[in-house]
């Protein structure tokens, strides 16, 4: 079935957030810090106010009287005494038009005193630090330490300890549509129209940041031009609302691509020290030490470290393990989620390490994985039972493919395999409202479609299949957060799977209600006639709307509501020694990928020629949507693997904040041959046994490519992305970083 939003989008007929306007609207632009770390001595806005067309200038000084509650000093809406990263908002200028706002912004004078900046994790920490060093380190945001057994003792008894150091780069989501919003405050109604994956999340965030009760904040989503994790948090909305409050006019803010790179939230560099112990050919223990750059993030909101650390163990049976990590506050842009946050990076380290261990021992890396991979009934390192999980099935298929490719590939090509696992956000809740009305079956949603098809196509398909009718009679209508039922948002690969559950319950409820109301006693069936739901029982059929009461008719239809709040099953294991916070997994999802590459030995350029993805699907709800997610995620992952890297110059400025130098894949980059197999049967807790798909297929991509490069050349590249320079360096036998212990 063709998605009904496709043609209107192709005709340019659907409005996105950067397209919306209101009469009397002001344009606001940011004045941002040019320094990664500086004291602000004075902000002089007089020059800006003189620019014709400038209506208002907002600085941190204006905030206290304006907000219902003092802003938290740890989470400033605008920089007060110091700036903590290049691009941090210091002031905003609102004007009648964009040129005037820009001219005004250029005339805001900020007197900075530059302070020493911490922007380079590698320079700051050439080695894994000692506990003493870290105890007093001012930049530690979070520390996690978990272990079972005594790693050092196991290592002592081991036949072999494999040690490596891995490093990953800053990467950005780069949706083609930059952030934009339009705010209008009227009395107690704080209304904002914005491009977001999570209108209810933004509402909560706004209420928190502005000190307002949630009922006063009204968020309306627009069509979203790509999210990938970058549109979950209130970024521009607080400023637009405050300016609207002050000026009494609607206010628009839209980021340029450069600003998008500088101050939206994204993935920052990480360094992994990996150690694995072998005893009698068996992997018995692993230790990971992780330093995670969380940019100018603030303490107390750090899920990233505790969540990602577990992925560095891989889905393998281990007798003991140790995980330790520090999240460090640096003077880089703040950290934020990006499609399976940090999992591609963790898996690059974990699966690269495993691959190199197996190769060093002369064993086939896939066989090695098969000997250790979790099977249903095993326990995860954290002690949770492993439920349905298609990792083993995926590995078997990958083994077959890798062998066939190896046999048919020209000499010099390499074939690599990697296994990524993920746990979906099915624990997050959602509610559904389905209305049988004269216009058909209508679902009311807070989120607009963000591109993956989950809202626009996945949910209607769930309704249709539950009733046994074609999806065309189900439509989606949008409402703001004051009108639509609550949902956690389009993130964590959860929407079709978890919100779909609530939608299926609502459709089930409607079916039961109609069965109860339909005269007669035989079985009831549903069909669609002229776009309307039709009920048939005992040879008689009539429009379902005939079964509505007069009150329902007056209120627009028969409304059925349902909720689904999944639970994150399980607790962490008792025997686990844990400092800091770690999180239990919900559904486990495997992605097993195979890559065939060629490597130019002169230049170090890597080309991916064939690629296969075996995905643990549970159950595929929306086949074209599923396929689109896998294709898109793999190519995005190839960007992370090969070209994407936010680079800082020596002064700590992002050197490539734009598409010309930060290279995302183009039409000529994807592998010419891609095989996608969705393996059904290891059922998840989503609707019909589905598991999420938005994130899992990006996870093993960088590792699969690096493992293929190692297969082709014998050289292991341990730093992302695999640029030609890094590959040639590895080919020349360049420093193979030792991993492991304290210095």
């Amino acid at each position: 079935m063709i998605r009904t939003d496709a043609l209107p989008k192709a005709r340019g007929a659907l409005p996105y957030a950067p397209d919306v306007e209101l009469p009397g609207m002001l344009w606001a632009v940011y004045v941002t810090s040019p320094h990664p770390h500086a004291e602000i001595r004075r902000v002089d806005t007089a020059g800006a106010r003189e620019v014709p067309g400038v209506v208002d200038v907002l600085t941190a000084e204006d905030l206290p009287g304006l907000l219902p509650r003092e802003p938290e000093p740890t989470r400033p809406l605008l920089a007060t005494k110091v700036t903590r990263f290049v691009g941090e908002p210091v002031a905003l200028v609102a004007a009648e038009n964009l040129p005037a706002a820009r001219a005004g912004a250029s005339r805001v004078q900020v007197d900075y005193r530059v302070l020493p900046a911490f922007t380079d994790l590698e320079r700051e920490f050439p080695h894994w630090p000692t506990p003493e060093e870290m105890r007093s380190h001012p930049q530690v945001n979070a520390h996690v330490h978990a272990r079972r057994g005594d790693f050092d003792q196991v290592a002592h008894r081991a036949d072999h300890v494999h040690r490596e150091r891995y490093q990953t780069a800053m990467v950005a989501q780069v949706p083609l549509e930059p952030h934009a919003c339009l705010a209008r405050v009227q009395g107690d109604d704080w209304y904002v129209l914005t491009t977001t994956q999570a209108p209810f999340g933004i509402r909560e965030d706004l209420a928190d940041k502005l000190g307002l009760p949630q009922e006063k904040v009204r968020v309306e989503g627009t069509w979203v031009g790509g999210g990938f994790g970058g549109k979950n948090e209130a970024l521009l909305e607080p400023h637009a609302l405050l300016l609207s409050r002050r000026t009494g006019r609607p206010v628009r803010i839209a980021l340029t691509f450069q600003e998008e790179f500088l101050f939206s939230r994204t993935t920052q560099p990480a360094i992994f020290w990996m150690e694995s112990c072998l005893k009698d050919g068996k992997l018995v223990a692993r230790r990971t030490r992780l330093l995670l750059d969380t940019g100018a993030s603030l303490p107390g909101r750090d899920f990233a470290l505790g969540y990602s650390l577990g992925f560095t163990l891989g889905p393998y049976r281990l007798e003991s393990f140790e995980l330790e990590g520090y999240a460090l506050r640096t003077h880089r842009p703040p950290f934020g989620p990006h499609r399976a946050p940090l999992a591609p990076q963790c898996t690059f380290a974990s699966e690269g390490h495993l691959d190199s261990l197996a190769r060093d021992r002369g064993e086939d890396p896939v066989e090695f994985r098969l000997r250790h991979v979790w099977r249903p009934g095993d326990r995860t390192a954290l002690g949770q039972p492993v439920g349905p999980f298609a990792a083993e099935a995926g590995l078997r298929r990958a083994r077959e493919t890798a062998r066939a490719w190896k046999a048919s590939a020209p000499p010099g090509h390499g074939v690599g395999v990697a296994l990524g696992f993920w746990s979906t956000g099915t624990g997050a809740g959602g509610e559904a409202r389905l209305t049988l009305s004269p216009e058909g079956l209508v679902l009311l949603q807070g989120e607009r479609e963000i591109g993956n098809g989950s809202i626009w196509q996945g949910l209607p398909e769930v309704v249709a299949a539950t009733l046994g009718v074609p999806p065309a009679i189900v439509s989606v209508r949008y409402g703001d957060t004051a009108h639509a039922p609550f949902d956690s948002g389009v993130w964590g690969s959860r929407t079709t799977a978890a919100l779909g559950y609530a939608v299926a319950k609502a459709a089930e409820g409607l079916r039961r209600e109609l069965e109860r109301r339909a005269p007669g006693s035989g079985p009831v069936s549903f069909t669609a006639r002229d776009g309307a739901l039709t009920v048939a029982r005992e040879g008689r059929s009539y429009p379902a709307t005939d079964l509505m009461t007069p009150e329902e008719r007056a209120e627009g239809g028969l409304r059925v509501e349902a909720k689904h709040y999944g639970k994150n099953e399980g607790t962490l294991e008792e025997g686990l020694v844990l400092e800091g916070e770690m999180f239990p997994y919900s559904d486990l999802i495997a992605s097993v990928h195979v890559a065939e590459v060629s490597v130019d030995r002169e230049t170090g350029a890597v080309k991916v020629l064939r690629y296969a993805a075996f995905q643990d699907a549970g159950k595929v709800v929306n086949p074209p949507g599923y396929r689109g997610q896998v294709e898109g995620a793999i190519v995005m992952g190839l960007g992370t693997a090969l070209t994407e890297e936010g680079l800082l110059d020596p002064e700590g400025h992002l050197a490539n904040p734009g598409l010309l130098d930060y290279r995302i894949p183009t039409l000529s980059d994807p592998p010419p041959e891609l095989t996608i197999v969705a393996l059904e049967g290891s059922l998840g807790s989503g609707v019909w046994g589905s598991k999420g798909v938005g994130e899992p297929p990006i996870i093993p991509v960088p590792a699969a490519v690096a493992n293929a490069v190692a297969d082709a050349t014998g050289a292991r590249v341990t730093v992302l992305p695999l640029t030609p320079e890094r590959v040639s360096q590895a080919l020349r036998g360049g420093a193979r970083d030792p991993g492991g212990g304290r210095r």
Partner: protein, 177 residues
Amino acid sequence: MTGEPPLTLRVNGEERTVPEVAADTRLLDLLRWRLGLKGTKEGCRTGGCGACTVLVNGESVLSCLTLAREMERQEVTTVEGLTGTPEAEAVQQAFAEAGAVQCGYCTPGFVLALVSLRREHGASPPDLPTLANELGGNLCRCTGYYAIVRALADLLGVPVTSELPKSTFTVEPGGSP
């Protein structure tokens, strides 16, 4: 903003005169904010993504890099003007059917670029590799391009050739319960 001269151009077949167009106004902003044609999307503003593609005298240009004043007496066509023509409908339909429209932010740019490529060559339409090559400046972050290449192939009625991105998708039993 006063004292700037007006600009007269043809947009989507109609003559339009826009008062007070500053020398540094870009065509993208003129179309979107002075003429209300928001189907032309604003992406990178630096010539790197193709989302802002429009036709000037039938040739595709990046409106973010084009000064509005250079359009004096020129013929500009946006997605709004092209929609409804058989060439545009064919491209739009092919994209929709192939699943090449996810978030859709890149799609109008692709449509304009493609229509101009196909028109340029008149009787001997470019083959699939040529089309794919010429679209190298149009970025898409959602689809990974596989569906876009499928749409191009469908449009030409040819199979996807070996060097271009092509995928297969199957759903199979195989997970363990």
